[in-house]
């Protein structure tokens, strides 16, 4: 942590790479279907000819930019640009609908910078001790974490719990289609070759979120987003004020994001959902989550950007990728001839620290770059006529889905899911529980199977599932999340009755 490494991160080349990376990442991340993982994979060959530290700075900047860019489509089109931005749609799109899209974009930018900084500072100061978190999480902990994530369905579908649970169950069934990740069984394909690859999360996101928006755009004569008094510039001052008032929310969500990022089996989508769930659980009475609550956006966006720094902790300390994009960074390092793994911090310390400073610089650069690009994205979505917007977005959904693995059947599956999502939405089934089931189902299944196998081997199944301290803590949080709303609403009803 000497000044020398800070200065070597500040060379004009590295600064330029950080700025370029943030901008490129933000743009890629804003397009549904093009994920951070894909952006990195495409750009890895460029880094072969660079110094290892410069290569890492570029990759880190792209990664952090892409996670932020996912918020644009989530806010303005109700479609998460990357899986990390799922929970951003919950409040971002309602805000945009009522004419506060510009405010939402600015809030997302502030929150992303705060989250990114907390994650990067944790990486700088606390990496070795925090890396132990990655190892403390065994199969059972992942199982309970995914159950905790699924409990969010209950709070997402207030007043309609049965439909929410049905959607979640449907999503979990969808996740089992194809070749099972760990058991290698081929399930529920009904003899179809198309279904062997299963339902990918990114394709399902595009279908379930974006297609219904497109159908509604065509079906209703109103403007896409409400605009009051013409297009204003992005409301930076107002957003900053709101962000300052939510300091505690931002900090808590960033810490959650950092910790979840450290867990190799989880990632940005889970981090965003857990932080959202916690923000909602501790909400003040006047806050209406799900109807355009700024704290909802800030919780998700700070948490998902905190996973960038958090994910690099096990990547750099243990040689275990914390998130899928980290796996690409590890591969790039190996090709650079840098020994990864436990020896890296000691043997290649200067590269590591130059990279961490580069990541911090990139995160700071995200503030001006993000606000500028955000303003442009908001203006273009608001001002272009529907007749142009619908085909453009429609075209992008197809390209984005096809790009996942050059597969036309993925596009067909995406469109079918989209139409299905639109139809069931008429009957009160929302997309989010289905997507939650799809993402968390495999994590729950793997954790359960592995936990059961190990528990049986040591002849202690109850101890395996209920006896471990971290599991017990997650289980307690799950129960609180599930039971608290019931207790509160009963108390409210009682006091209302007494008042009568």
């Amino acid at each position: 942590m000497e000044i020398g490494q800070f200065l070597s991160a500040m060379t004009p080349l590295n600064l330029g790479l950080a700025l370029f990376g943030v901008i490129a990442g933000t743009i890629v991340g804003s397009i549904p279907g093009l994920t951070a993982t894909m952006a990195l994979a495409i750009l890895v060959p460029i880094t072969f000819s660079m110094e290892p530290a410069s290569a890492l700075i570029l990759l880190g900047a792209i990664y952090t930019g892409a996670i932020y860019g996912g918020a644009y489509a989530a806010i303005l089109l109700n479609t998460p640009g990357t899986p990390s931005a799922i929970a951003t749609t919950f409040d971002g799109y309602p805000m945009a609908k009522r004419g506060d899209g510009d405010l939402a974009v600015a809030l997302a930018c502030f929150a992303s910078v705060v989250g990114g900084m907390v994650g990067a500072l944790a990486l700088l100061f606390l990496a070795p001790p925090l890396s132990k978190v990655a190892l403390a999480f065994g199969p059972i902990e992942y199982f309970w974490l995914s159950i905790f994530g699924l409990s969010l369905i209950a709070s997402l579908s207030e007043g309609n719990l049965a439909k929410g649970l049905a959607g979640g169950a449907f999503g979990m069934i969808l996740s089992t289609v194809g070749v099972a990740e760990i058991s290698a069984d081929i399930r529920l394909t009904f003899g179809s070759q198309t279904l062997i690859g299963g339902f990918g999360v990114v394709g399902a996101l595009i279908g379930l979120y974006c297609i219904p928006v497109l159908i509604d755009l065509v079906a209703v004569p109103d403007r896409h987003l409400k605009v009051e008094g013409g297009v204003r510039s992005v409301r930076i001052g107002e957003a900053f004020g709101i962000a300052m008032k939510s300091k505690f929310n931002l900090f808590r969500s960033s810490v959650i994001g950092t910790l979840v990022g450290i867990l190799p089996g989880a990632g940005g989508s889970v981090a965003g959902l857990v932080a959202y769930s916690e923000a909602k659980r501790t909400a003040k009475p006047h806050q209406k989550f799900g109807e355009g609550e700024p704290d909802g956006i800030m919780a998700t966006e700070s948490a998902n950007n905190a996973t960038v720094g958090g994910g690099f902790i096990p990547t750099l300390v243990l040689g275990i990728p914390g998130t899928p994009p980290d796996a690409i960074v590890l591969g790039a390092l190996l090709i650079q001839g840098v020994r990864t793994g436990p020896a890296m911090f000691t043997q290649s310390g200067s590269i590591v620290y130059t990279f961490i400073y580069g990541l911090i610089i990139a995160t700071i650069l995200m503030l001006p770059a993000g606000l500028l690009i955000g303003r442009y994205a908001y203006k273009s979505i608001v001002t272009i006529p529907k007749a142009v917007l619908v085909p453009t977005v429609g075209f992008m959904t197809i390209i984005g889905t096809f790009a996942i693995r050059n597969s036309i059947s993925d596009v067909v599956i995406m469109i079918c899911l989209g139409i299905f999502g639109w139809v069931v939405a008429r009957f009160g089934f929302k997309a989010s529980p289905i997507v939650l089931g799809l993402i968390l189902g495999p994590i729950a299944e793997q954790g359960f199977v592995q936990g059961w196998t190990i528990g049986s081997a040591i002849n202690d199944l109850p101890g395996m599932f209920f006896g471990r301290p971290i599991s017990q803590a997650i289980l307690a949080f799950t129960l609180i999340t599930l039971i608290l709303p019931l207790v509160l609403s009963r108390r409210q009803r009682k006091s209302a009755m007494e008042a009568d």
Partner: protein
């Protein structure tokens, strides 16, 4: 008269042209190298190591892209539908391409894939944390015999190289271990380092990545890996186990014999480059040279072995 001679000349030219292209296959522009898995795994990393050498030697870019899904099945099922002009190649993996089609109809068959080179393998290895009580392979076997089923071992996936190795080893030693499948070698290594399991069926690449944090008890190679001169082979310890996860490359089956031969020669040339060999060894890989001519024999021997092991373990019918 003039017209006729022009025609003749034209015909001759056309003839030499078609003849020329069929006799001498060559590359036209950048090559598409499809990896049927996500980025970051061993298949990706070894392709990335080939990339710069390919550009150096043959002047064309090698573009790596990913087509994950179905444990590789999505990619392999699409391979023979791709253009066989030699501009597109795809990574293949053993035992995957043998076991998958034997389990169920997956859209491709082992024999239907035009495999032209197997260029390396990651040798099976038993890995334990550095602070494990198992100092030697004998310690682990003794514990597994004394406490049947209680020695848990993580590995990547079921019916995979790791799993088949576990089945084979249990059969050889008469011990009974419990295999716990994880999603990929990264996840199975994490479980090992976190002491969720007692040992891991991994590869020499795990030892290369984790260094001091782990200890390998034995590797499934003919001779010791140059990176780990202190780690014995299973053979030295009396168990006839050599193998691991093999990786190679295939062309669509419409590719001509000339194109296939050209590719076999090119990959062989990269494999012979000392700098490439050194990079692969440093990563913990073991090099292998099975070219287009030797492929049929190699695949036949491997297929029989995998199918027998998998059938005995009840993984396939």
């Amino acid at each position: 008269m003039l017209r006729r001679s022009i025609l003749k000349a034209g015909a001759a030219m056309a003839l030499t042209m078609t003849f020329g292209t069929s006799a001498q296959a060559e590359l036209n522009g950048p090559v598409n190298y499809v990896i049927p898995f996500g980025p970051g795994g061993e298949s990706d990393i070894s392709a990335r190591l080939q990339q710069p050498f390919f550009k150096d030697k043959f002047g064309q870019d090698m573009v790596v892209n990913y087509q994950p899904g179905g444990g590789g099945a999505v990619g392999w099922a699409s391979l023979n539908g791709l253009n066989g002009d030699g501009q597109t190649i795809m990574g293949i993996n053993l035992p995957h391409i043998v076991i998958k089609p034997a389990q169920k109809e997956v859209g491709f068959t082992t024999d239907g894939l035009n495999a032209f080179y197997m260029f390396h393998f990651t040798p099976d290895a038993i890995v334990v944390p550095a602070d494990s009580a198992y100092q030697t392979l004998a310690d682990l076997v003794a514990d597994a015999k004394a406490n049947p089923g209680q020695v848990t071992m993580s590995g990547s996936g079921k019916a995979s190289a790791n799993h088949l190795a576990q089945i084979k080893f249990d059969k050889m030693t008469g011990a009974l271990t419990t295999y716990v499948p994880f999603k990929g070698t990264g996840a199975s290594t994490t479980a090992l380092l976190g002491n969720q399991v007692k040992a891991q069926w991994g590869y020499t690449t795990v030892g290369a990545k984790q260094g001091e944090a782990v200890r390998m008890l034995a590797v499934a190679m003919e001779e010791r890996h140059p990176l780990f001169p202190d780690v014995p082979t299973f053979k030295e310890l009396g168990y006839d186990m050599v193998g691991g996860a093999y990786r190679g490359i295939a062309l669509p089956n419409t590719a001509s014999a000339e194109t296939t031969q050209m590719w076999s020669d090119m990959i062989g040339e990269i494999n012979a480059d000392p700098a490439f060999r050194q990079q692969m060894l440093d990563g913990g890989f073991a090099l292998l040279d099975v070219d287009a001519a030797g492929m049929a024999d190699f695949m036949a021997a491997r297929t029989v072995e995998y199918l027998n092991d998998a059938r005995e373990a009840g993984l396939i019918e």
